[in-house]
Amino acid sequence: MPVVLARVDDRLIHGQVTVGWSQQLNPDRILLANNAIAGDPWQCRVYGSSVPPHIQVTILSLSGAVLHLSQSEYLTEKTLLLTATVPEMMELARMGAPLSDINLGGLHFGPGKQEMLSQFYVDQADLSACARLLTAGHKLIAQMVPGGHKTVINQAQLSEMEDRM
């Protein structure tokens, strides 16, 4: 059970992750997959310092994260995997990361984004990546926090949203 939650959240490591989901899932490690942050030691320190001491944190590039998850010594760990965007999560899946359901947990408003569900904003790249993840057999679940409102995203919703954009 290497990945207990694969979450897309543009805030990355914050309270909903380190308190909300971590209290529920008790992960051994938070794995943050992000090329820019992994390449900047100072940003790694900033994000790393947000994690409570009982949870390990590893910040890697997308390809580094896939490699990390493939190594046998990590297969027994409970990992909470984070990306900032849906296309990055799709890229991890494409490169062979062992993912099942994808939690869409934090997609805030930004340039070119439109509201798909309450407080859930997407652009064309997000919709394309969601469609590819669905086609590859992943379940997409929009849910900010454990016990919070939950919407399972289907192809029809993606097509309807695409028509609105």
Partner: protein
């Protein structure tokens, strides 16, 4: 004058500053931001706007939770090696201390004094 920015989840910061002004009267150079509904880049842009407005005498950011997006975004906006004092765990004592002491306290000492004052306010005052 040293200026301050309070960044919190929800309306915590706004309500704290309202209470500070009920106690000490209207204050200048004390602004509030909420992370509610904001992406990291949007919140970062708001912080950078405040940094441009803050004067040369020094700047303090007070955030509510050291492990949250307010804290991370404040650090990212200020940059590595920034002189801005970033304090977590903002409470009424910290804010009252800031408004009361900022004129007479050297900037280099202010952060440490405010952390100490806010901690002193966290005590058990009843029960066993």
């Amino acid at each position: 004058m040293i200026s301050a920015l309070v960044i919190t989840h929800g309306d915590i910061g706004q309500e704290l500053v309202k209470v500070v002004e009920m106690i000490l009267g209207p204050t200048e150079g004390l602004e509030v931001l909420s992370n509610h509904g904001k992406s990291v880049p949007d919140l970062q842009a708001d912080i950078l706007g405040w940094l441009e407005r803050s004067g040369p005498d020094g700047a303090v950011i007070m955030i509510d939770d050291c492990g949250g997006s307010c804290a991370t975004t404040a650090q990212l906006a200020c940059g590595d090696g920034s002189p801005v004092a970033i304090l977590s765990g903002v409470n009424l004592a910290m804010l009252l201390g800031f408004v009361t002491w900022r004129e007479a306290t050297p900037f280099e000492e202010l952060g440490r004094k405010l952390v100490q004052k806010s901690r002193e306010a966290i005590i058990q005052i009843g029960g066993h």
